[in-house]
Symmetry: C2
Amino acid sequence: MSLVVQKFGGSSVADAAAMKRVAERISLYAKAGHQVVVVVSAMGDTTDELIDLADEISPNPPPREMDMLITAGERMSMAVLSMALNEVGVTARAYTGSQAGLITDNDHGKAQILRVTPGRVKEAVEDGAVAIVAGFQGVSHDSKEITTLGRGGSDVTAVALAAALEADVCEIYSDVDGVFSADPRVAPSARRVPLISSEEMLDLAANGSKILMARSVEYARRYGVPLHVRSSYSGRVGTVVSDDLERQIPIDPTVTIRTADVARRDPADPSKELTVEETDPGLEAPIIAGVAHDRSEGKITVVEVPDVPGKAALLFDVVASSGANIDMIVQNTSTVDDTVAISLTVPEDDAAAALDAIEKAKEAIGYSEVRYNPDIGKVSLVGAGMKSSPGVSATLFQALGEGGINIDMISTSEIRISVVTEEARLDDAVRAIHSAFGLDAEQTEAVVYGGTGR
Amino acid sequence: MSLVVQKFGGSSVADAAAMKRVAERISLYAKAGHQVVVVVSAMGDTTDELIDLADEISPNPPPREMDMLITAGERMSMAVLSMALNEVGVTARAYTGSQAGLITDNDHGKAQILRVTPGRVKEAVEDGAVAIVAGFQGVSHDSKEITTLGRGGSDVTAVALAAALEADVCEIYSDVDGVFSADPRVAPSARRVPLISSEEMLDLAANGSKILMARSVEYARRYGVPLHVRSSYSGRVGTVVSDDLERQIPIDPTVTIRTADVARRDPADPSKELTVEETDPGLEAPIIAGVAHDRSEGKITVVEVPDVPGKAALLFDVVASSGANIDMIVQNTSTVDDTVAISLTVPEDDAAAALDAIEKAKEAIGYSEVRYNPDIGKVSLVGAGMKSSPGVSATLFQALGEGGINIDMISTSEIRISVVTEEARLDDAVRAIHSAFGLDAEQTEAVVYGGTGR
């Protein structure tokens, strides 16, 4: 018997029919004897509809009241899912975030979890009931107000409960089969990554992969919670995110295996072990987890900044104070005078505030001009294996060069290379890199699993 | 400065536009310096939609989960109304039933209030904020579960808060101008009753008047809370339900008067006192509060019940055990044998269960036959003054006789006469009685206010 936390969101719980389907899936685990805790998002477009309703009332509603309003969405879905489970003969009890012990700070709209005291949830599963918990919400420690956890909040709820309950696995269900070696809409030959380390997953998430928010992955890493990202529409094995290869995790109502063996299981039939011939080859090749891309950033270039100590620092300080998250920075020293040009990328949503702040500090910084270009794209190659493989960056730049794709900015870490290109060529860049590293599904020398050093 | 509890329900908060209108009205009280607590129902058809959603999932959802689901409706409306108030410059804070201290028993779907501990609401109004409370819901004392208060639950929430906060008045807003001397849809000449005793209001409510549930009136009477039933669509004075004629109540943001003087105020302009000529006459006439009617009951007749001690008692016991509320009972002794026929009225919704229970007890009771007639109607004349006016019942029966309306059953109390007729003649009966007692608006000898013995 395992304790399994399952999170269902978005389209998986869009309407009554979807709820019934999800309830059937949960019931397989419950009937197999597992303890099950389910975190659920709001049904379909409920949250957007509630936000629209608030917009009709006020352009700037008080955050406390906004949280009260939108948490109603998850309350409805938790109650409905609990009903659906009881209807298929599985005892279930629904709990709000507050009842489930999600204690947060008081930062309405983007609260942080302070601690989790899941006494009632624990009691429910020990009684043999499935506990359904409303995602995305908590209660503030000091003022006992209803809070929301911000973007990706339901995933974080699931991970936090899994950590507090010492669950064997936290399954994140959505409408895709797992983490892919690139976005299949851009690179149709992308393939599922069966196993990936949390570090790689963090880098993918930070560089545009939408499947998991970095916040949830960080939380899972800190508490050693194995994640399993999978589809609610099939029984297929998805992607396991784990740093502990010896950990036993249930991947099916009746199959529990070592995480190290996930890539050797038939995804369509987890009870079946693949032979060496059937398993994808390339175990000894440089390990690439995948290619991520991101269209959401824009580039700010500040021209003719005096090349004296403190000026660049002041610029970064001014941008950070505007609330904009700086991602990449490139500085070019002028060859004609004592100035530098500084380029930095920020989320497009933050650009207006950043530009405004830079404009206000023009005199203090002493630059001559600011330019802004929203039409950039970033492609990132992520893989724990690349730190010991010197040829990786050469292969990447060669692939881009052969594709005639200009490189605007570059940043690297031990397990990642990111390149900024013009936005119009981003998809080409993703496909070129994906092919160059043998990730395409039809290539025989493919490296098909996220590297974990093996 | 007064403490005013205001309850808005149904169509008053149907959509964003309605919410804004309600917020404007509330703001008048807040800006005039009153402390204001607002209880709000779910917006428009939200509750019905949530019930439909549950129906799609399960024919018989667990009551606990059902309460969790439908309480989301009031949570949304409380948050939206709070936003709307803040938007018009009035600080407001929304509270769930649980946060507002509505402590109930654990009877999901129809919980009773055990006590009210409105610490946070009190704090909010003392801070100068308007407190918005979700109606219809509470939290159970022992298991800390979310409960709902059943039909009329939002009114009860308002009255309970008014009692606990020792409010000066509890205003119940709806889409009608107050309590009328009959249902204006049946008797178009019906007029508003400015002042009525709680006893009369209870009798009207128990006999078909929909404007207030008996439960709320009982609660208000027990704790001496003056009620003011009025329209959210106008600033008009409605109907005050109070037994304390000397009590000072605010009837307008800026006007506070003795309840005894309510009938002497211009409803359209509460700051204006009517002259004796302008006030409706009839102060010394027998006091009739109004005519209520009810189509929701059916009549069960049990034929040839042995006329021996204990048989009738057994019948009533059997019906009560089925969960049916018996309203009227008539027993006719047979002139040909030692049997009696017993007729009783029950809500049509309870009739199937009652008939089933009677059928099962056929041998024990020893009757020969049961008949059921859903096509009955009940008309009731209510007024505290009738107990000292011997001519009242004569006038009533004469009116019905002249109208050719057959009387099927009769029951009376000190302040009420109820008559069962065939359902098809019920409207005629209401109009005939309304006219006979001079209640029609165009009649000069009208008795226009609810009697309180004056």
